[in-house]
Symmetry: C2
Subunit: 133 residues, 2 copies
DNA sequence: CTAATTGCAAAAGCTTTGCAGCGCA
DNA sequence: TGCGCTGCAAAGCTTTTGCAATTAG
């Protein structure tokens, strides 16, 4: 199975919690889940995994570059699978829904701004908060 | 004094903690402070104000539109005086320093992206994480 | 005078950590 | 077998809240 290889490649033992969590992230809709969301999904599926393990696994996945952690407003982090395609986010303040977008012009402009100030851009976080018209 | 008027205008009683906190925010360098930063500054100045009060006052200031709360990475919120001029932020991952910038092109592009998706842009958060070259 | 405000301490919410036992390789 | 991993419970951190005492208007 695909998950096993990704885990091994990351130097992580192939354990049930890790495989299950990876599967949940791969098949989840919406794609952005909090640790609590993952934990609940696991419990609902009858898996006996602790919340601490979910946090540990997600943190390991992040370190391994398998997932990305976002700190949107609201106190809790959300995670999404890193598919290698960078994108930014749109959060609807009415429904909480999260959408993704990518805009070449904004990306380039950000790079230029950082460089004009004598820095190297290593990362960025752009979130548009919107509401329905 | 200027602070008193701003407070009265916001419908808040002019109390010592509020005036002191407002003064700290007005004169602070760097401009971005956490609740803890404000609290420490107060204590160092010999003021007997509780941390809970700092949080309450900052939250009231935010509701009144006097300050803006940011949730940069790192678990704790930072506050800055709202001078009416919108700007985004650059955070140096080496030093933790915070810089401000404003880019008309990015602003316009964001608005267009939200509208193209049928939404109304109500707010946005853009942070560039950079390092020294 | 009276409602708003404050300090303290306790509680809350998210996340991390210590530890003994379990399980993958 | 041996070290990594897990579950549980406890601890950590930032932030919020309850409450009695204090204070602004």
């Amino acid at each position: 199975m695909a998950e096993s290889n990704e885990l091994r490649k990351a130097g992580l033992k192939v354990t049930l919690p890790r495989v299950k969590i990876m599967q949940i992230l791969e098949s989840s809709e919406p794609r952005h889940m909090s640790a609590e969301d993952v934990y609940k999904t696991l419990i609902d599926a009858g898996e006996d995994v602790g919340l601490a393990t979910v946090y540990r696994v997600l943190t390991q996945f992040e370190a391994a570059g398998l997932v990305i952690r976002h700190n949107f407003d609201g106190g809790h982090a959300v995670f999404e699978l890193d598919d290698g395609e960078h994108h930014d986010h749109i959060v609807c303040v009415d429904t909480g829904e999260v959408f993704e977008f990518f805009d070449e012009k904004i990306e380039k402009r950000q790079k230029k701004i950082a460089e004009d100030m004598g820095f190297e851009l290593v990362d960025h976080s752009l979130v548009l908060y919107v509401k329905q018209k």
